[in-house]
Amino acid sequence: MTRVEFGPELEAFRAQVRAHIAEHHPGLPRLPGTRSPDAEHLPRYRRWCASLFGAGLLGGDWPVEWGGDADHDPIRDYIVDQELADAKVPRPIGAWNLVCGALFAYGTPEQQAYYLPRIRSFDDLWCQLFSEPDAGSDLAALRTSAVRNGDDWVINGQKVWTTHAHVADLGLLLARTDPQAPKHEGISAFIVDMRAPGVTVRPLREMTGASDFNEVFFDDVRLPGDSIIGAPGDGWPITRAALSHERSQSLREDSATNAVRRLAAFAVDTDADAGVHRNLGRFYARSAVADLLGMEGVLKDAAGRSRSYDAPVVKVLFTETNLDIATYALDLFGARGVLTDPDPDVIADGHFQKAFLYARGFTISAGSNEVMRNLIAERGLGLPK
């Protein structure tokens, strides 16, 4: 990873990112994975995200009329992510990446003119309303309904695993508009005001004890006619485009090599045996290879040479390596490995015990790893359905 050399222009850009972080430092923690900011931090959080767009550090890939750069270099996005991670400052949360993809391709001029600038100013924090209790990996089986009533749409149903719903202003909703049509063809995409009457957000308590996700209930929620994106029935192509964009973002994960270095320091302190040395060396190699594949994915994306299986390969490797390292860490700690924060004898502030629980979410979310393997085999290698 040390051999990635960028030209002087990109290194100047990196310096600009660092200067921006120093000047606008939000003083907020970098939240792992799916965590949402505390409600009291939201105004500061919004200012920070808006500053990143305002300085041209985010959204460079957007069409020029909406604030993008004509000759945007995607490696800049990688540099921004890298610098935000190194400085331990948060990156913008929410579904804005999905939403802008949907709006560029399918939004009306009025929708684009209203919503896109509000993403850049972070006046709107978006959530994604896709999964349902009976539609997880089989997303197209979703049952939440949208029925015409005059000019309006009336929504009924339930969503689940909705990250950030409790703090979001708007949601990107998938609902069934034609129950008679084949399952992929009867779906439409909508913009929902999360504070509209009939929308109920109820926090889910996860196995970690935290509440990062929500259930969202729709009881006769009326949406104005102009809240549909595209035409009725366009929901599935919109979703596919949005999700593949989200997956390409997952090429940029935080490196697991630092966790392995921490474990190596522990092994030195506790005089661990050669078997432990080898296991840690092997985990380091796995983490480094995951980093290399993620990095190469970004570069290939930038060069327009990416293949359909690149992002799924990276997702599977990152999330499973992450889980295996956390699991191994606890084994390595032995009896003390059972202690969690805030026990005074906890190891490494309880980082690995938390990771041991949280890591399970990442192998499931954003397309379970089984679905990723299907994508690799079918779309990537052409194996028959």
Partner: protein, 359 residues
């Protein structure tokens, strides 16, 4: 690190085209059972095409390729389980070109490699120290195990210990090195123990101080490139077979049990590709070499064997036959995995490099 460019694709395509035609399964098996174990026709052709010259600087009639380029050739050779000493010759050319081009013996060697008249092999030795060669007063003494195809090499690069540290010595085979065949799992590549009974170095021999470690690192990277080729080819064969083989009225590739296994093979093979490339670039850049090389071997050594193992399982009974080539790949993958330091040795080295204390 950059995505492969057009030049590299051209080199890869050229190698693949030639090897597909001239390094068929039947040919590999024929050569493996021949007296010399050496495909002289293929060597001739490779020399005409300038493959050995890739490792030689332009000022000596070579093409001045990078280690990344050499890895492309090694990977393509791996895709057809070619045992050719081209890999070892490229390594020697690279080290001599970088370190000893001003030496008359070095210049002669480079010109010979570029012209295709020098066929070199390496006596790297295992890092666990089970074998050893000493250079004392201009004389070599000791032995090295697992020297590839010494019986058909004209030159040998050997790691030797001196009072002042390890050095690399390149000498003509007929200077007095004695090769005894060793029997290994890999039936398409011969290995020898090479013994030096007080072999006196003469003016045709070349001594490179400080290059002994370079030979080890470069050897591991080229070995990884070869195994990357093995993994890539096995993946292709397995995908094709899963599409074509029908059982229960369906192609077996339509079963999720097979799909998921094959997806895992792709992940392993992709890791091989980027890890090897990163290690090659590290050598070209001269920084972070030990770490990148051991990351590569830790991953590739195991991954190629993993891919071979699962490729066999997915092929079912046909893969267990002598006539099918899968076992040739399985054998090559396993031997490559265990030589030049097994993955566990490289894991331990990595542990030391990331702040742990080894041993």
């Amino acid at each position: 690190m950059l995505p492969p460019g057009d030049d590299e694709a051209a080199l890869r395509d050229a190698c693949r085209e030639v090897l597909t035609k001239h390094s068929t399964s039947a040919r590999i098996r024929l050569i493996a059972e021949s007296e010399t174990g050496h495909d002289a026709d293929l060597w001739q052709l490779a020399a005409q095409l300038g493959w050995p010259a890739l490792a030689v600087p332009e000022s000596f009639g070579g093409l001045g390729g990078s280690v990344t380029d050499l890895c492309i050739v090694a990977e393509e050779l791996g895709r057809v389980v070619q045992p050719s000493l081209l890999v070892q010759t490229l390594a020697v050319g690279e080290l001599v070109g970088r370190r000893a081009a001003d030496d008359p013996a070095g210049a002669a060697l480079l010109e010979g490699i570029a012209a295709g008249t020098v066929i070199a092999t390496w006596a790297v030795g295992e890092p666990d120290g089970t074998d050893g060669v000493e250079l004392v007063g201009g004389t070599l003494r000791g032995y090295r195990n697992f020297v590839p195809d010494a019986q058909c090499a004209t030159h040998l690069a050997v790691r030797a210990h001196t009072a002042g540290g390890a050095v690399l010595v390149v000498l003509p085979m007929d200077t007095g090195a004695r090769a005894t065949p060793m029997r290994t799992l890999d039936i398409t590549r011969r290995y020898s123990r090479v013994e030096f009974d007080d072999v006196a170095l003469d003016a045709d021999c070349l001594r490179l101080d400080g290059a002994a470690a370079n030979l080890f690192e470069l050897g591991v990277v080229l070995q990884c490139a070869e195994s990357t080729g093995v993994a890539g080819r096995l993946l292709d064969l397995t995908v094709a077979y899963a599409k074509q083989r029908t059982q229960f009225g369906r192609p077996i590739g339509s079963f999720q049990a097979i799909k998921h296994r094959i997806a895992d093979l792709l992940i392993e093979a992709e890791g091989c590709r980027v890890a090897t490339r990163d290690a090659a670039e590290a050598i070209d850049a001269g920084s972070g070499v030990a770490e990148a090389v051991s990351v590569a071997k830790s991953w590739v050594g195991r991954a190629a064997s993993f891919v071979a193992s699962h490729a066999l399982q997915i092929h079912g009974g046909i893969g267990f036959s002598w006539e099918h080539d899968l076992h040739l790949f399985l054998r090559r993958a396993k031997v490559n995995e265990l030589l030049l330091g097994p993955p566990s040795w490289h894991d331990e080295r990595l542990y030391g490099l990331i702040g742990g204390t080894s041993g």
